[in-house]
């Protein structure tokens, strides 16, 4: 269980590389986990080829959700929006390098859900975006 708090997670929680807001931005979306009140906003800038060139997250949440946001944003820099749409639950778990029970999985997947809802231009984020 303690493996959950791998160094990388604590590190990214305490000193995230992608924390902030982008104004102006091309894509922005925010949502929360109603079970725990975690709130995440993600801003993206993309170039003319629809590649993500800059990304930032803001809001508040637990170490898992914050580290997940930070690592995920790092991983999508340089990716096209179509590639971002392909990201799955498994990709997030690999980035974090941990296994999670159903409750904490929600924390880990919130950032991906927010990114995908933004990229797809949806009005509302839904869990189906991050299910297998």
């Amino acid at each position: 269980m303690d493996d959950l708090y791998r160094e990388i997670i604590i590190e990214r929680y305490k000193e995230p590389l992608y924390r902030g807001v982008l104004e102006p931005h091309d894509i922005s979306f925010e949502d929360e986990n109603p079970l725990c009140g975690d709130h995440i906003r993600i801003d993206l800038r993309v170039d003319e080829n629809s590649r993500v060139v800059e990304a930032a997250f803001s809001g508040h949440g637990c170490a898992i959700s914050q580290a997940s946001a930070d690592l995920l944003l790092e991983s999508i820099i340089g990716k096209t929006l179509d590639e971002v749409k392909q990201l799955s639950k498994q990709d997030v778990l690999e980035l974090l390098g941990i296994e999670l029970g159903p409750v904490r999985l929600k924390c880990a997947l919130l950032p991906l859900k927010v990114i995908k809802a933004g990229v797809y231009g949806l009005g509302e984020a839904s869990d189906s975006l991050v299910e297998e």
Binding site: M1, D2, L4, Y5, I10, K14, L35, C36, G37, D38, H39, H60, G61, C62, A63, I64, Q66, R104, C107
Partner: protein, 414 residues
Amino acid sequence: MTTTLTERLDVMRIREDFPVLKREVAPGVPLVYLDSTATSQKPLAVIRAMNDYYERSNANIHRGVHTLAEEATAQYEAAREKIAEFIGVRKSREVVFVRNTTEAINLVAFSWGRKFLQRGDRVLLTEMEHHSNLVPWQILAQEKEILLDFIPVTTDGLLDLEEFERLLNLKPKLVAVTQMSNVLGTINPVKKLTQRAHQVGAVVLVDGAQSVPHLPVNVQDLEIDFLAFSAHKMLGPTGIGVLFGREELLEAMPPFLGGGDMIKKVHLRSFSPNELPHKFEAGTPAIAEAIGFGAAIDYLKQVGMERVAAHEHDIISYALEALSEIEGLTLYGPSADQKGAVVSFTMRGVHPHDVSQILDSQGIAVRAGHHCAMPLHEKFGLPATTRASFYLYNTRQEVDQLVQGLAKVKKIFG
């Protein structure tokens, strides 16, 4: 067995009665269960009572004339009698079985509220209510255009009684308050509230989800009109709870759900409702659960609620003292003399989820989140807290384990 207060509760003996307290959550990591506010553990007596019913007497209740149906009905109704006596109700017809506290409050909102509240009428609530004593009134407010007012909570986590007086001048038709906050642990002065509310002609509903399991509660002494509580928080099973209502109120209310058991006569186009309490118990009820609830009441009575309360007071006093010494920890709610055995806290720099996850790795079960009281958390400017809660089976040693567990959280987040 009757008990006197001079004799302390023997917590080690009590723990023997709860099979789950012997388990380990991982090899070599025994369970430290500090989440009884969410749901309590169950003693063997409760589990056995339900098993026995299924093994020996399982039958649908009422109307059946065979032996099993008679036995099942007798046991179901005996549970009602026990519960009535436990909360000081003289007539067991004032005790309605429902699924839980939430359903009890919804029943009142749906049936009493829809009939007796008109546009512009006011309902007085508090800022510390559980969502189950907020949302039913919000739904009704939308439908009937009634107005909701809230007794504010002070920074110490107490109800602002001066503001209460002012809000009473608005002549609420209903005052609906929790007797004990599930977040702050605050024990509200219910008798004072009911007396003042009655003076302005209001009906009083008390959310007893946290108080009935932990304190002696007598509806006559406290002059309560409606009381809602759940078995699962007081050693009983899930799926069963109680709405107590004064007879005149229940009599005047229309049925909640329609169907079998709640009727006296049915014609193709009309029906006449059954007598109390059956008028509000449509369909086959949770029979085994009611019987289990009865066994839970027997258990609590045998220990004695005064002693349960005294034991919990000892534990929470000890816990507040120990926790207040931890650097970086903020505790919410009043001092031990004004609260039950619940403490919510935040740790600087660590999210409540992470606190409870690391505690879990040491076998310590606490809860993280807004505990179904989002408005209260908003008031304190917190998205979430970690909550530890205690019951008759918890020990001072478990408080020590919590303190050690928190030291480990600090170490990991360094």
